[in-house]
């Protein structure tokens, strides 16, 4: 039961992580214009994301523009896009798989070993999704940092980390934590072998004896 609780906890952590991954993929604030340095008070805040760049006016208007050309984009944005989309897809498959594999559902109850394996593969997919997100976000953050500390960048054109990066880090951590919880619930081999045998009530000796024979004959072909 504790095992099942751990699975549930892992699943919900990973679910939260997956939602966060989607949010950080869609958010346009991967980097935002920095007000460091000479502190020129600007009426416009600039954001850049994976899909669009935005300008937020002090009057409350937000102007966004999708990137025009796909092939003219910088390589790190393209690879970050690819990694994030792969992470979202992996998370989706992991979500479906771990619903099937978790102990709190009745699907495939007759084969607990396969069920456990499905749960573990779901957890592994969540781990992979978290790793993809972590790679994309950290890579982007590294480039933003390099650009910031590059002396040839003009002071007013500097960008720093946006909220989407932090959301991405947090959700990668959640997905990896949840995935590892799901992976932790490995079924022990001897318990897994004994559990598929159905419960047989038999208070009278007359019924109990053949039951033992029957279970022995069932065990025989399995090689146990």
């Amino acid at each position: 039961m504790a095992n099942s609780g751990l699975q549930l906890l892992g699943y919900f952590l990973a679910l939260g992580g997956w939602v966060g991954i989607i949010a950080s993929t869609a958010l346009p604030q991967w980097k935002q214009s920095s007000y460091a340095g000479d502190a020129i008070i600007t009426a416009v805040g600039l954001y850049e994301g994976l899909w669009m760049s935005c300008a937020s006016q002090s009057t409350g208007q937000v102007q966004c523009k999708l990137y025009d050309s796909l092939l003219a984009l910088e390589g790190h944005i393209q690879s970050a896009r690819a990694l994030m989309v792969v992470a979202v897809l992996l998370g989706f498959v992991g979500m479906v798989l771990s619903v099937v594999g978790m102990k709190c559902t009745r699907v495939g109850d007759s084969n607990p070993i396969a069920k456990g394996r499905i749960a573990i593969s779901g957890g592994a997919l969540f781990l992979l999704a978290g790793l993809c997100t972590l790679t994309a976000v950290s890579w982007y953050a590294t480039l933003v940092t390099q650009e910031f500390f590059n002396p040839s960048t003009p002071v007013n054109a500097r960008y720093e980390f946006g909220p989407a990066l932090f959301v991405g880090w947090a959700s990668a951590g959640l997905a990896m934590l949840g995935g590892s919880f799901l992976c932790c619930t490995c079924p022990e081999p001897e318990r897994a072998n004994s559990s598929p045998q159905p419960y047989r009530p038999g208070p009278s000796a007359a019924t109990r004896e053949p039951v033992v024979k029957l279970s022995a004959s069932i065990k025989g072909p399995l090689g146990v």
Binding site: G60, Q61, Q63, C64, L66, V107, Y199, R200, T207, V211
Partner: protein
């Protein structure tokens, strides 16, 4: 588990001991029909084991058998779950996107103008720049239509989400409270009712908004006033209506159709979830009972 299984094997054991005693008492008669006893065995199992389950099925022959009804019930739950997840998603998306009104094609605009519950966005058709402007602060003066639609849509979102989670807990394939089928079925009913209630504010909000937009437009046309821009309702509004209808559908399936498949007897009120527990046991009992009976049949045959 124990309590739910007892009624199955108790009559079986009783029957078995009864047979034993009968064999002891009328051994001579038993000897006469060793040929009949083997074919009698499966028949006896079928009558003893499921009779405690399917006694109700006999009372009303017009209904399909219990197994089919259990399947139907399971299917209905999944259908309702499918509808519930999509309609909840539709409602949430409709609330937070900003295309409740779009400008109609006959207006003099080169850009697409969308007005939502929270934002107003203009997408320029030429350079693709999308400018969004938030409505003023929430305490500022808003048209009543906007405020009420916001409130209705958020209520619908919350209710639909709550109903969906309740439905998830009440599904038969989720091992939540596996020993209490009554509570599980009741959870399904609660989920259905909540979804039905959630559909009401959703449909009221979206239809009201749509009707308002339509009335505004048609009155402008009627009075031959041309303001330069005319609105029709956009895809968010359609999503809201679709989500509310899906909520109604899921709620109706959960309440009405499940009610049809609910049984009447006091101890057999919810046979499906009890039967679920039985299914493996019944097979194993049937298996384990084949051996003693055939053996006894052999013994009686030899005697």
């Amino acid at each position: 588990m124990m309590t739910s299984r007892t009624p199955l094997w108790v009559p079986a054991c009783l029957y078995y001991s009864y047979r034993n005693s009968r064999r002891l008492q009328w051994g001579v008669r038993k000897r006469k029909r060793p040929v009949f006893s083997p074919p009698q065995v499966p028949e006896a199992q079928e009558t003893t084991a499921p009779s405690s389950l399917s006694s109700q099925g006999c009372s009303c022959p017009c209904l399909p058998p219990d197994g089919l009804r259990a399947k139907m019930r399971e299917l209905l739950q999944y259908v309702a779950c499918f509808f519930a997840i999509f309609s909840t998603a539709f409602l949430v998306v409709a609330t937070w996107t900003d295309c409740w009104m779009v400008n109609a094609d006959d207006s003099l605009e080169v850009s697409t103008k969308c007005r939502g519950l929270w934002w107003e966005c203009v997408t320029n058709a030429f350079d693709g720049i999308r400018t969004c402007d938030e409505y003023d602060s929430i305490l500022a003066e808003h048209p009543l239509k906007l405020v009420v639609t916001r409130a209705l849509m958020i209520t619908a979102d919350v209710l639909a989400g709550f109903g969906f989670i309740t439905l998830l807990l009440g599904l038969d394939c989720v091992k939540f409270l596996p020993d209490e089928p009554y509570i599980k079925v009741r959870l399904c009913f609660v989920a259905g009712t909540t979804l039905l209630i959630a559909g009401v504010p959703g449909i009221v909000g979206s239809v009201w908004y749509a009707v308002d937009v339509y009335v505004e437009r048609s009155s402008l046309i009627l009075h031959n006033i041309f303001l330069g821009i005319q609105y029709k309702f956009g895809w968010s509004c359609w999503l809201g209506m679709a989500g509310s209808l899906g909520c109604f559908l899921a709620g109706a399936v959960l309440t009405c159709c499940l009610y049809l498949f609910k049984d009447v007897g006091p101890e057999r009120k919810y046979p499906y979830s009890m039967r679920k527990d039985y299914s493996t046991t019944a097979v194993s009992i049937a298996k384990s009972y084949v051996a003693p009976r055939t053996e006894t049949a052999k013994i009686s045959g030899q005697v």
